[in-house]
């Protein structure tokens, strides 16, 4: 059974891990990550999840104090699609072996080329770059444009249709000339695409992609079954020793991040948050202490186990575990290829997801506000920052529930280790082999 599963999952993991489009999206989003966290920090100060916070400080700083704090957010979240296009264009150029900087620049230009420079205000429209499309709504178009434009760039390059400079011309100058024709061809293609979309009822490519692709995909991603299935796969990959987060995340994270950005935009606009599932829901409520929600396992190990091996490992893994890093457990306990912990390893995150989803959908716990809180933020604090005190309480309860779900399984392992250790003590004549014992004759 396990063997069969492995023979299906491993080639899949390898394919996803080597797929240049998925790698480009994954690495491309990394460009925006630190900036979004910084932006979140300012927004969090302005909207700290304590009732009356804004009014309290308004007494000292005046009513408009929060508007200054939303400026860094405007400069990061509100234009996150720009960062995504540049990042994906850059990393995809690396995959396609063309100049990365030009690839990123061409992607961005082509993306702006098909964007309608029109802002609607009460019936009439003025000319300008719409914040609407440079934020989360423009991400999917951005991904497609980055792939297509870099493909064109690489294709023209490969054909050899480039201007070559004689030796002696500085390399940067030569590079910029050699990008001239590929850039021209890419712009021409998107010039035509723009005209074609203008003739449709959608009016432009952004509206088309948003309605046809982004909205249905986000709707699908924002469901409980999608999240549960994604996480079951993620943990199966981990069980076989493959970083499940990076495999499943390559497909799922763009959707989650867009959902988060949707929540944040609503928060800034003072509207109710639309999405239960989001990046923060995944990072902060599905698992605590890394994949498998192993912080619960760690607590169970430290509280209920007696074998030296489990206890020592528990102590060693505790500090990284608090910050969501659990490699010591995954490979040390081990969880990888250990059928004894497979059941709770997949069950605990699923239970977390289902309970959190229900709590949020019936309004017991507010939805995640979309602040980019790093996944390394310790549990309870992270829940508080993302949703308020209700989230912290939910995290705490789920953490404890996880301890009890893991307990029977880890105790089973513990008993076995204890027996091994007792046996080991009996025939122990020193565990180490000493090379100083070698005599001259041995050599």
């Amino acid at each position: 059974m396990l063997k069969k599963l492995e023979s299906v999952l491993m080639p899949l993991a390898e394919k996803i891990g080597k797929n240049k489009y998925l790698i480009a999206v994954r690495d491309g989003f990394l460009l925006s990550m630190p900036l979004l966290i910084v932006g979140s920090f300012f927004l969090l100060i302005a909207n700290f999840p304590i009732p009356g916070w804004t009014h309290f400080w308004a007494r000292f700083f005046g009513d408009g104090w929060t508007s200054y704090f939303s400026k860094p957010t405007d400069a990061t979240f509100s234009i996150m699609a720009v960062l995504a296009v540049v990042g994906i264009g850059y990393s995809f150029s690396e995959q396609m072996h063309v100049d990365k900087l030009f690839g990123a620049a061409i992607s961005m230009v082509c993306w702006f080329l098909i964007m309608p420079y029109k802002i609607l205000t009460e019936g009439s429209s003025v000319s300008g770059i719409p914040l609407n499309w440079v934020g989360s709504k423009g991400i999917f178009v951005g991904i497609i444009v980055a792939f297509l434009s870099v493909h064109i760039y690489a294709w023209v390059n490969k054909k050899g249709w480039v201007i070559r400079m004689p030796d002696g011309v500085p390399p940067t100058v030569a590079k910029s000339f050699s990008a001239l024709i590929p850039a021209g061809v890419a712009v021409l293609v998107f010039f035509i695409i723009n005209i074609v979309f203008a003739m449709t009822t959608y009016g432009d490519a952004f509206t088309f992609i948003f309605t046809i692709l982004q909205t249905p995909l986000l709707r699908l991603g924002n469901t409980l079954p999608a999240m549960v299935i994604a996480y079951i796969f993620l943990h199966l990959f981990w069980f076989f020793g493959v970083n499940g987060g990076s495999v499943v995340g390559a497909v799922f994270n763009p959707i989650l991040q867009t959902l988060s950005a949707g929540n944040l935009a609503a928060l800034q606009a003072g509207q109710p948050l639309p999405n239960i599932i989001s990046q923060q829901f995944q990072d902060l409520f599905a698992t605590f202490g890394g994949c498998g929600s192993t912080l619960s396992l760690l607590i169970a190990m430290l509280l209920f186990c007696r074998s030296k091996r489990v206890k020592e490992l528990g102590k060693l893994a505790l500090i990284p575990g608090v910050f969501g890093i659990n490699e010591p457990l995954v490979f040390g306990l081990p969880i990888v290829l250990n059928p004894m912990v497979l059941i709770p390893f997949m069950l605990v995150p699923t239970v977390n997801i289902v309970i959190s989803y229900i709590c949020m959908s019936i309004g017991l716990v507010p939805l995640c506000s979309g602040y980019a809180i790093p996944w390394t933020m310790p549990v309870i604090i992270s829940g508080f920052l993302a949703t308020g005190w209700q989230g912290a309480v939910l995290q705490f309860l789920l953490l404890i529930l996880g301890v009890f779900l893991y307990m029977p399984f880890i105790k089973m392992m513990d008993r076995q280790y204890l027996a091994d250790e007792a046996k080991g003590d009996d025939d122990k004549d020193g565990d180490d082999i000493d090379f100083d014992d070698l005599s001259f004759d041995d050599l």
Binding site: E6, E14, G241, V242, V336, G424, D432, F435, L438
Partner: protein, 173 residues
């Protein structure tokens, strides 16, 4: 079947990539990858008696001397077979595995083989005519399990003196 493993500081868990000067030492019983091999060892009735470990830098400082000591210890422990590896794509460790396997083969009656990934091209080219080298993946992940199983199968075949030409075609360099 009694087995001895040869590890570097990383596989033995005695150090990190940077702790290259871990001195020559050994542990009784299985540690490192041998623990992951346990299900396959059970199938082949193998038992890891001891794991001999040495930092890759310690080896490189004096390959001849380190290898001589390892051979002497192997001779003293008298296992049926010695597994040198899995070295994955760690070049220094792969070099140690290949040389030590060859020296054990030459200077003792014990059977030995090495295991590493295809990234160690030059070492494989230099040694594959004289040493059995089992193919492993570059790191963990796809193919690791089958590689560990192949190592156990190879160990059993060598220990029993079976014909290994089939195995050599299937999973060796």
């Amino acid at each position: 079947m009694k087995i001895v493993m040869i590890y570097d500081q990383i596989q033995s868990g005695l150090g990190t990539k940077d702790d290259q000067m871990v001195p020559l030492t050994g542990k009784k019983g299985p540690i490192g990858p041998a623990v992951m091999m346990e299900p396959y060892l059970a199938q082949t009735e193998g038992h890891v008696e001891a794991c001999l470990c040495c930092g890759s830098g310690t080896f490189l400082a004096d390959p001849g001397e380190v290898s001589r000591k390892l051979c002497a210890m192997v001779n003293k422990l008298k296992p049926d077979v010695v597994m040198c590896g899995p070295a994955f794509n760690y070049q220094d460790y792969a070099a140690m595995c290949a040389k030590v396997a060859l020296d054990i083969h030459r200077s003792t009656d014990v059977k030995a083989f090495a295991a590493m990934s295809e990234e160690n091209e030059e070492i494989i080219k230099a040694y594959k005519a004289q040493v059995v080298i089992v193919r492993t993946p570059k790191k963990g992940g796809p193919g690791l399990n089958s590689a560990l199983k192949n190592m156990c199968d190879m160990a059993k075949a060598l220990a029993q003196g079976d014909d290994i030409s089939g195995f050599k075609d299937r999973f060796c360099f």
